[in-house]
């Protein structure tokens, strides 16, 4: 409960917090703050640029990495290969969201009856987070097709995708679990007291609140997934990273790597900013909730 009067300190606290968190917002600082920020940025950039361009190896590095013709020349080809990264990422994300939720729900089942399921979920998340992604992709990508089983896909991309889903589901399940555990037990009691079953309480009361709370960390994991689609290239599949490697080998310059990096950054940074917006909106909503209309 807050009246108009005691909402003000919230704003001050907020401004201090965003400074502490290294936020980019300068609203609280005013024009003087903006001027200082511009000046210090200019000094910083100048120092970095001078230091790098004066280094003895710079002309060579510049030729090998920053050849504009190189970057521009390889970009279209890498962009075409990058479509595969995007496809892998989008399809895997859907499966991860569903599969991880299942694991998290299994892990939060109460009572001794469900001990085996809980144990299984714990072992799974431990393994998924403990094994290097690149190993799982290699094992599945090369191993599964080699089995030549009837009806089992032989596509390496498919199995690499399975590997990504298995690994990332371990992380995402833990994120979901944190969300589920953050919902106070009294919420379940309230739902059950209305005669809802445990499954109904989970579906209508606990999960909607849990998922809402963990959207920022979920998006964080998806930024990681977007980058890790490059690991599929280790199977010989032509995706953005592998394509840029081929181009680099052909020209003995590394501009193609930069082109690939630009493509990855072009999709990860918007997602990162979107995550920040969601976090900020959530914080505002929680603060506004102190005052009634």
């Amino acid at each position: 409960m807050a009246s108009e009067g005691d909402r003000r300190p919230d704003l001050e606290v907020e401004a201090r917090r965003s400074r502490l968190l290294g936020g980019l917002s300068l609203e609280a600082e005013g024009a003087r703050g903006v001027a200082i920020a511009l000046l210090s940025t200019a000094v910083f950039v100048t120092v970095v640029v001078v230091a790098i361009s004066q280094s003895p190896g710079w002309p060579e590095v510049h030729r090998v990495f920053f050849s504009w013709d190189d970057i521009r020349g390889t970009f279209p080809e890498i962009a075409r290969a990058f479509v595969l990264n995007v496809k892998i990422f989008v399809v895997c994300e859907v499966f991860i969201l569903v599969f991880a939720l299942l694991i998290a729900v299994l892990r939060s089942l109460p009572g001794p009856v469900f001990f085996p399921l809980r144990a299984l979920a714990i072992i799974y998340t431990d393994l998924a987070r403990g094994v290097p992604t690149i190993l799982v992709i290699a094992l599945l990508g090369f191993g599964a097709p080699a089995l030549q089983l009837e009806g089992v896909p032989t596509s390496r991309v498919f199995w690499a995708g399975v590997g990504l889903v298995l690994i990332y589901s371990g992380y995402v399940a833990e994120v979901y679990r944190a969300g589920i555990e953050s919902v106070h037990p009294s919420q379940e009691a309230a739902a059950r007291s209305l005669g809802l079953s445990r499954a109904q309480a989970l579906r209508f009361v606990i999960l909607p609140q849990a998922v809402r709370r963990v959207i920022p960390p979920l998006l964080n994991d998806f930024i990681g997934l977007q980058k890790d689609t490059a690991l599929v290239g280790t199977l010989g599949v032509i995706e953005a990273f592998n394509q840029s490697q081929i181009d680099a080998n052909a020209s003995f310059t590394f501009g193609s790597y930069l082109a690939a990096a630009v493509l990855f950054v072009a999709i990860t940074i918007p997602l990162a900013r979107f995550t920040d917006v969601l976090i900020a909106r959530d914080r505002r909503r929680r603060q506004a909730s102190g005052a009634f209309a």
Partner: protein, 247 residues
């Protein structure tokens, strides 16, 4: 046949025995208030009746049906027993209307239109119609608690349990919630109420039970309990309440 009967109810949490053999019966349309110090077992007693806590011993009967026997359908029983909590426990991600409709829709499987009509009728009756599309955190504590009561009522329970429903409220908001309960009592709702509002208990209860260390030490009409308590512990408790200016 009693609306609710507790026979030899015992409940422990670890080594701590919270209920040590409770016998209590409520007749239809009766309002019974449970008073007693914090930790005397009032809340646990209500949670046991709602089957939120399993009993260690004893049994509970709802209109003659033993609800604590093995294999009973707890969800079906809970549909008949409403409970309102001290901390409201509204669902923060749902509007007021959806909070009230959830039970009828999902537990009773009522069609949407019917559930909505029932919810709106109750919200209207308790002056909350204009709040139907608000989220709980936009409401005052008193409004939230009234919504919680409406949510319980929307199930048309045979029995309503109220667990210190005004304890988390600012003093100026207590009245509006007590008015709702008063209205329910006049309407003939059978209620078991744990409360620290002694004045209210005296006014609304048909019977008052003083709980002490997990036992009903003394019970009787409000006047007898508040004016002529026979047990020394009851007198001590009431004296402390008077000293605190709550009676």
């Amino acid at each position: 046949m009693s609306a609710l009967a507790l026979e030899g109810v015992r409940k422990s949490f670890g080594a701590n025995e919270v209920l040590r053999g409770i016998d209590l019966a409520l007749e239809e349309e009766e309002v019974v208030c449970l008073i007693g110090a914090s930790g005397s077992g009032k809340s646990t007693l209500l949670r046991c009746v709602n089957l939120l806590e399993p009993l260690d011993a004893g049994r509970i009967l709802l209109h003659g049906e033993e609800i604590t026997r093995r294999g009973v359908e707890v969800n079906r029983i809970r549909q008949r027993i409403g409970i309102v909590f001290q901390a409201f426990n509204l669902f923060p991600h749902m509007t007021v209307l959806r909070n009230v409709m959830l039970g009828p829709r999902e537990a009773l499987k009522l069609p949407r239109g019917e559930a909505e009509a029932r919810a709106l009728e109750l919200l209207g009756r308790f002056g909350l119609a204009d709040r139907r599309d608000e989220y709980p955190d936009r409401l005052s504590g008193g409004q939230q608690q009234r919504v919680a009561i409406v949510r319980a009522l929307a199930m048309r329970p045979q029995l309503l349990l109220l667990d210190e429903v005004t304890s988390a409220l600012d003093p100026e908001l207590v009245g509006e919630v007590l008015n709702v309960i008063r209205e329910l009592a006049e309407g003939g709702m059978t209620m078991l109420i744990a409360t620290h509002e002694m004045g209210f208990a005296r006014e609304v209860a048909s019977r008052v039970c003083f709980l002490d260390a997990g036992l009903i030490l003394e019970e009787g009409p409000p006047d007898a309990i508040f004016s002529h308590p026979t047990e020394a512990r009851t007198r001590q408790f009431l004296e402390r309440i008077v000293q605190a200016g709550r009676l």
